[in-house]
């Protein structure tokens, strides 16, 4: 999908989405009552400790590209649940739902993802 689709979905009370509060981590400034959905192209899946990060290039209606950083759980815990570095292959088109940063920066906490072929990852009800 060429153009970004950015919409704020009000969610009254989101449940935990799989970002573990490990020893180094604080409440990292992500919204707890809003969810954003965006569509873009996977640049990189950083399958690294302490947390994984999905880097997504999102292009707006004017052709301006923005790199989003979407944080997920540790590669260890995700790996035990079947997630792999290949789960988000570079170049793949994907729609991702996330809890956005409170200050509007292009980052957030991962909720779920849906690929063009209909395959979903995470929570996508």
């Amino acid at each position: 999908m060429k153009h970004a689709r950015l919409g704020a979905l009000a969610v009254a009370s989101l449940l935990a989405i799989g970002i573990p509060m490990s020893a180094h981590h604080s409440n990292a400034g992500f919204s707890t009552d809003k969810m954003v959905e965006l569509t873009g192209t996977i640049k990189e899946f950083q399958f690294t400790n302490p947390h994984t990060w999905i880097q997504v290039i999102v292009e707006d209606d004017k052709g301006v590209k923005t790199e989003w950083s979407i944080e997920w759980g540790s590669p260890n815990s995700l790996g035990r649940q079947g997630i792999r570095p290949s789960t988000f292959p570079p170049g793949a088109k994907v729609t991702i739902r996330l809890r956005p940063m409170l200050n509007g920066a292009p980052a957030g906490g991962f909720v779920g993802a849906k690929f063009e072929d209909g395959k979903t990852v995470g929570r996508w009800e």
């Binding site: 573990p20 509060m21 490990s22 020893a23 180094h24 981590h25 604080s26 409440n27 990292a28 400034g29 950083q46 690294t48 400790n49 302490p50 947390h51 990060w53 880097q55 790199e67 950083s69 944080e71 540790s74 590669p75 260890n76 815990s77 790996g79 035990r80 940063m101 409170l102 200050n103 920066a105 292009p106 980052a107």
Partner: protein, 273 residues
Amino acid sequence: MRGALPVVLAFAVWVAPGLCVAQSAQRAPATPRPYDTLPDWSGAWQMVGGTVFDRATQTGQGGAITPGVRSHPPYNAEWEAIYKSHLDRRDKNLFPDTISNCGVPAGFPRHFNLPDPYEFVIRPEQVWVLTENGPNVLRIYTDGRKHLDDQWATYTGDSVGHWEGDTLVFTTFALKGFRDKDVILDRTGLVLSDQSHVTTRIRKIDPKTIQVDMTIEDPKALTKPWVVTKQFSKMPAGTRVYDYGCAENNRNPADVDSGKTLILGPDGKPLNK
């Protein structure tokens, strides 16, 4: 031969006494219990519940970073004030410490308050409690040695114990505590002093549960012993445990000046400073 005498005398006067002291303090006089008589705690285990250190005394709903949540250690007035200041920082989304979040041992007794898998490795002369998170290693000597009288303080301290049936009983001394403002017990900001010491009993209470009972004494911070129980449930057979290199790609460092958790963008610059 005559020329060698001064060397022998020097060894006898300067070196040998030191060796004798070291050996007497660290000697293992007792015969460790045979391996085939020790209990089986193999496999991977996961702490039950969240990372509020003492959930039995917890007030407020939610986890350790939720405003309003606290434990109730029997602090004296001075240490209650320290804890309250940490709770205030937590409620403002600030770390009570900025050092222990990545790169130093979790320390004891926080060792038994971590997410991710645990492993309990039993050998006749030692027991090792390994945590993926960190990673951390707690070594408990069961070979009959005693604590050193002049043991210097470390994050994890010095643990010496023995078996009472299938229960491992050990004491832990020489803890750094909050002396250098870098050892907390959980993210509510619970702390103990460098005078803290702990008596711990570990046993398997059923095939899928290991229970850890800790009696914490701290003449500097507590008015009476504080008993904390943690349980660990067995993870599925075949569970793998992995590296945990916090420095590998930590995009959530704590700002040392403010205590605020930063979120780093792809260029390494904070998105929220």
